[in-house]
């Protein structure tokens, strides 16, 4: 599986699933970098598209991992746009995947959570294929905040 996750600690913790050199044809875990300009935001979304596009052709699983604060809008407008965009992208892909049994979901996590716990959540989702199109929040900082 291709692990393209900007958070280095999380990328390392996801080593059981794959690596930065892994094949997107076998599945994708994508976590965007923080951005400060529109060009950077667009580039992160295009990275997500490129990887998910390859995975979709092979019906391989896709999980987007995003900063939980950004996923509820408690971030800069551009970081929130990227995170909530991926939340919606995960839902769209899950719908498409229903026909061909391709799995897609989203994990939102607080920076204060141990990377191993976030990685275990991703591994569980991929292995069990539960929560299709859903956003699973890891951490307690945003309990009660309405998901977009």
């Amino acid at each position: 599986m291709r692990i393209h996750v900007a958070d280095a600690a999380l990328a390392a913790a996801l080593g059981g699933l794959g690596s930065a050199e892994g094949r997107p044809e076998d599945g994708v875990v994508f976590g965007p970098a923080e951005v400060t300009t529109w060009a950077e935001a667009e580039e992160e979304l295009i990275r997500a598209y490129r990887l998910a596009h390859v995975a979709a052709r092979e019906n391989a699983p896709v999980v987007f991992v995003v900063d939980a604060a950004a996923a509820v809008g408690r971030a800069t407008p551009l970081d929130a746009a990227v995170a909530v965009g991926l939340v919606a992208g995960g839902r769209c892909l899950a719908f498409e995947g229903l026909r061909k049994d391709q799995y897609a979901s989203v994990v939102g996590y607080d920076g204060s959570e141990p990377a191993a716990r976030v990685a275990a959540t991703v591994e569980f989702l991929v292995a069990s294929a539960v929560g299709r199109g859903q956003t699973v929040m890891v951490g307690t900082a945003h309990v009660g905040a309405m998901l977009p």
């Binding site: 598209y49 979709a56 800069t76 407008p77 929130a80 909530v84 839902r91 498409e96």
Partner: protein, 233 residues
């Protein structure tokens, strides 16, 4: 009198929004890529500017037009949008980039440029879509319109208490965008709407007009689904 700026206003939902805001007593600046914007603005008694919201030069043009009018800007409606649907497996990068750049990048750039010019207690209303809850063939559009909701919330926090920022998420609305759909696909979509019919541009315009008005003065960072109940059915 205060000014409302409406993008994608040459036709469809944007035209209906502009007309409704004129009725509510605003001077309206209609913005569109399409030269029909001049005809529509004359018809509505507004002002028109032809500009591409996805290009920095287009955004500058809109800011210049706002300044030139010399009317206090109070409302910005980010409505311009495009679709280029296909299953993700068949979607090319240009279709992904174009949809994200116009729907999301344009909304971001124009809000950043216009928000500082809006009067205190002004309002921004973004047009998202029910499709951000998930739709087959709309990975690009879903990301763009979900992203618009991320912008809506984050801008609402960043610009409070001076300005309010909200979104309307239309369901299936009759416009040139949706008339292009094959008849069978259209019928399937309409059959899934609890209220039993497609929305009309005026339905969306009413929601926008309310969010832009003082009647919604305690509402910010919210998404109003105007979709005939389709968001959960």
């Amino acid at each position: 009198m205060s000014l409302a700026i409406v993008t994608g206003a040459a036709r469809g939902i944007g035209q209906a929004i502009a007309a409704r805001l004129v009725e509510s007593g605003h001077a309206v600046l209609l913005v569109d890529l399409d030269e029909r914007v001049h005809h529509t603005s004359t018809e509505l008694g507004g002002h028109g500017v032809r500009a591409d919201i996805s290009q920095p030069a287009g955004v500058e043009r809109i800011v210049d037009a706002v300044r030139a009018l010399g009317v206090e800007p109070r409302v910005l409606v980010n409505n311009a949008g495009i679709t280029r649907d296909s299953l993700l497996r068949n979607m090319d990068e240009d279709a992904f980039r174009a949809v994200v750049r116009v729907n999301l990048g344009g909304t971001y750039a124009l809000t950043e440029a216009i928000a500082p010019l809006l009067v205190d207690d002004g309002a921004v209303v973004n047009i998202s879509s029910r499709a951000q809850l998930g739709n087959v063939g709309q990975f690009n559009y879903g990301i763009a319109k979900g992203g618009v909701i991320g912008l809506t919330r984050a801008h609402a926090l960043a610009l409070a208490p001076r300005l309010r920022v909200n979104a309307v998420a239309p369901g299936f609305v009759e416009s040139e965008m949706t008339l292009a759909m094959p008849t069978e696909a259209r019928q399937r979509v309409v059959d899934a709407i609890p209220l039993g019919s497609p929305g009309q541009p005026l339905d969306i315009a009413e929601a926008v007009d309310w969010l832009a008005s003082d009647a919604a003065s305690y509402v910010t960072g919210q998404v109003l689904y105007s979709c005939g109940g389709r968001s959960f059915a």
